[in-house]
């Protein structure tokens, strides 16, 4: 029996983390809703399982998403994750092939060189040792990058590395110790027996020339085992819990489970799947423009995990969603932040128990009994019947040129429409939602729903992406909700409006709530290509910037918002276009005061380029009557 007492720390750690991970997954599964449980069961026997295996390989091991956006950082993650995986895989095969017997306990593979010091002298054996050395060198190259990154984050192309707590630091140190101690232990053993390949062999040979290698090796094997054991034991308390959790998360996501609007098992899993890689910190405009570096999603999730005071972090965010699309783990950061904003409204919260090793569901402080209606004063409206309802929204009312342009386009379309909030309707409810006050928002939603359903229309056209998003997601309306750019695109496709080509160079700024928030990227660009010369910027689609005017953030003041707007406008107008086009009244209003380039909503550009024949036809009765009057 090959056994030595030094393997015990490793064994304890390994079996602890295996049992812990399985227990945790069972608890998470138990807390899922009935539908989600069914989804997961269906996923296990269906395509989702294969998909998940593929995704686990591509994302958890290769880290394709990080590699694409930042090669050096990606290489660091790739070498550590994929390298470690290869080391375990080939180590197990090595122990099985060359060990005393087949089917060994895990420690045999990990400490193979200790138990088989004579291994690797000839032919195939030495080739295999070469492979193992190569993998170890691969990991060590990544580790070197990681150590450098911790102290000089710019080297891997990151502006900031995440800040750590004490437990994190101990876990990090033990992680860093694992591979160097393995290198030294293997080298010294190899040196004593004159085995080993290019890395361990040559270092061992050199050590053996002036050190008692055989005696020195043993303490380093101990160190290797202790580092592994410590790392595994501390894993559940630190961000490294993401390693087992991410596998479960990928499987859950592929089975079709989404975050929804309540804290629950899935949001818990996501919270633990965050690796604090810091990609969200780098893309955040609060960081780049205002140097606010404590509220990014990595810190939000860390605060949730540690049960820290969270209100300021949750609310100090533009809700632009740039981090959400960049997250390499695919955590749904925006819904999670919204759950935190609702805070006291929430039905469930989670708290740490057993020194942080487990988390427990606790009922939230939602108080439903004591709620008086806030918006009783809004009178019941009797809108006229129409096919198309135009809902301008607060922000469009504040930018009359957009409102007038939309009315001009609607007139030209010849459709039977009604301007439902012409005399100032009520707010769509999204600002209240963003502030975490869902119940009040629901009241407004009911008021608007009632009014809109009375018109019997088939289309609801919104003038503002903020309204668009909430109409799409939180209203239950029996009609199709379209943003005005989608509506204009439909009119163009149907040939309902004719336009002249404007010989102007235009760049397009995609509003957060329309683009990342609702996935409408194509229509605005197609319209702009149709009527003007659309030029490209480096901030398109998912990578588009936030104008800074966001209603999502009440914690920064107007001067800070102006700074974000100025920075964003500068980046967008680098090539000096004639027009900075956008599809949101709030973006327009924010950018106007931040740049000298003309800022226009797409509806304004379209209205300007409208073929006047169209408009004349529409207005001719009015013009005629006016002429008659003059006569």
């Amino acid at each position: 029996m090959q056994f030595d007492i030094f393997v015990i720390p490793f064994n304890i750690g390994l079996y602890f983390i295996l049992i812990y991970s399985v227990t945790r997954c069972i608890i998470w599964f138990r807390d899922l809703s009935r539908q989600d449980k069914l989804r997961l069961q269906r996923g296990f026997f269906g395509r989702a399982f294969v998909q998940s295996l593929r995704e686990i390989f591509m994302e958890s091991l290769i880290h394709r998403k990080i590699l694409r956006s930042n090669f050096r950082l990606g290489y660091m993650h790739l070498s550590l994750a994929f390298g470690w995986f290869l080391l375990i895989l080939f180590g197990t095969i090595e122990a099985d092939l060359f060990g005393v017997k087949h089917l060994n306990p895990p420690y045999k593979a990990i400490f193979f060189r200790f138990f088989n010091p004579e291994h690797g002298r000839t032919g195939f054996e030495s080739a295999y040792s070469f492979l193992m050395d190569l993998i170890l060198a691969f990991i060590l190259s990544g580790l070197l990058l990681a150590v450098i990154k911790r102290f000089y984050s710019q080297i891997v192309g990151m502006k900031k590395a995440t800040r750590l707590k004490v437990v994190d630091k101990i876990a990090l140190t033990s992680l860093w110790m694992i591979f160097p101690s393995r290198l030294l232990a293997e080298s010294l053993t190899s040196g004593a027996y004159a085995t080993g390949s290019f890395l361990t062999g040559s270092i061992g040979y050199w050590f053996a020339s002036f050190l008692p290698a055989a005696e020195l090796a043993y303490p380093f094997w101990w160190l290797y085992s202790i580092s592994l054991g410590t790392f595994f034991i501390l894993m559940p308390l630190t961000r490294y819990m993401h390693i087992p959790t991410e596998l479960f998360l990928i499987f859950m996501r592929n089975s079709g489970i989404t975050t929804g609007d309540k804290a629950g098992s899935f949001s818990e899993v996501q919270t633990h799947a965050c690796s604090s890689c810091g990609m969200c910190i780098d893309v955040c405009q609060l960081n780049s423009s205002l140097s606010i570096t404590h509220i990014q999603s990595a810190y939000l999730i860390k605060a949730i995990r540690h049960n820290n005071e969270i209100s300021e972090i949750a609310h100090n965010c533009l809700m632009c969603g740039r981090c959400d699309v960049k997250c390499p783990v695919g955590i749904e950061l925006m819904p999670i932040r919204m759950i935190q904003r609702r805070g006291s409204d929430a039905e469930n919260t989670f708290g740490n128990i057993y020194g942080g090793y487990l988390r427990e569901k606790r009922p939230g402080s939602a108080d439903k009994s004591n709620f008086n209606h806030s918006y009783d004063f809004v009178p019941a409206q009797e809108p006229e019947k129409a096919d198309v309802v135009f809902f301008a929204g607060c922000m469009t009312h504040l930018t009359p040129s957009i409102k007038n342009s939309m009315l001009k386009i609607l007139d030209a379309s010849g459709l039977r429409y009604t301007f439902i909030d012409e005399d100032g309707g009520v707010c769509c409810g999204r600002p209240l939602m963003l502030a975490g006050r869902t119940r009040e928002a629901r009241e407004l939603i009911n008021l608007n729903s009632e009014m809109i359903s009375k018109t019997g229309a088939h289309y609801l056209v919104t003038g503002c992406p903020i309204c668009f998003k909430v109409f799409k997601e939180s209203y239950y309306l029996d009609l199709e909700v379209v943003h005005h750019t989608q509506f204009i695109k439909m009119l163009i496709d149907d040939g309902k409006v004719k336009m002249n080509f404007l010989h102007k160079r235009v760049v397009y700024h995609s509003p957060c709530d329309l683009g990342r928030g609702s996935g409408v990227y194509e229509e605005p660009r197609e319209i702009l290509q149709h009527v003007a010369m659309l030029e490209h910027t480096s901030f398109e689609d998912e990578n588009s910037l936030c104008c800074g005017g966001s209603l999502g953030n009440m914690n920064i003041n107007s001067f800070q918002k102006r700074k974000i707007a100025t920075d964003a406008a500068l980046k967008l107008t680098r090539d000096n276009p004639d027009i900075l086009a956008t599809a949101c009244p709030l973006c327009k209003k924010t950018f106007v005061s931040a740049t000298s380039v003309k800022v226009a909503d797409i509806s304004e550009i379209v209205a300007e380029s409208l073929n006047h024949v169209n408009v004349k036809q529409e207005h001719s009765p009015m013009l005629n009557s006016a002429k008659e009057l003059v006569k």
Partner: protein, 115 residues
């Protein structure tokens, strides 16, 4: 009787800063310093969505809070829809949405303490 003819005797309108409760205003201006920048121009009230239906006026609320006459504010502040037009028209850059949110918070907190 006099009311019917549109006459009434005005009640005393003295502002007694010593007995008024300025704690709400202090709470707000501590957390949102731009609250102090307000020049009471009334731009916010002119554009207000709620003001379109009621006599709700953010300008009035600002003044009342600063005086420490909180009762009227407390009854009305929840009428705000938080749409944010006021913060966009504000010539002084007052973060009005946060002022309203903080006021609601402050009333909530003080009610909690009283009970």
């Amino acid at each position: 009787m006099m009311d019917k003819f549109g006459f009434s005797i005005s009640k005393g309108r003295q502002i007694n800063y010593e007995s008024n409760d300025r704690s709400i205003a202090e709470y707000i201006s501590e957390k949102e310093p731009t609250f102090r920048l307000c020049i009471e121009c009334g731009g916010c009230s002119a554009t207000c969505t709620t003001g379109n239906f009621t006599s709700f006026s953010l300008r009035e609320i600002n003044i009342l809070l600063k005086r420490g006459e909180n009762e009227q504010v407390k009854n009305n502040i929840r009428k705000c829809m938080l749409c944010g037009k006021c913060s966009l028209v504000c010539p002084r850059g007052v973060n009005t949405r946060n002022v309203v949110t903080l006021a609601i918070q402050a009333f909530h907190n003080s009610a909690g303490h009283a009970v």
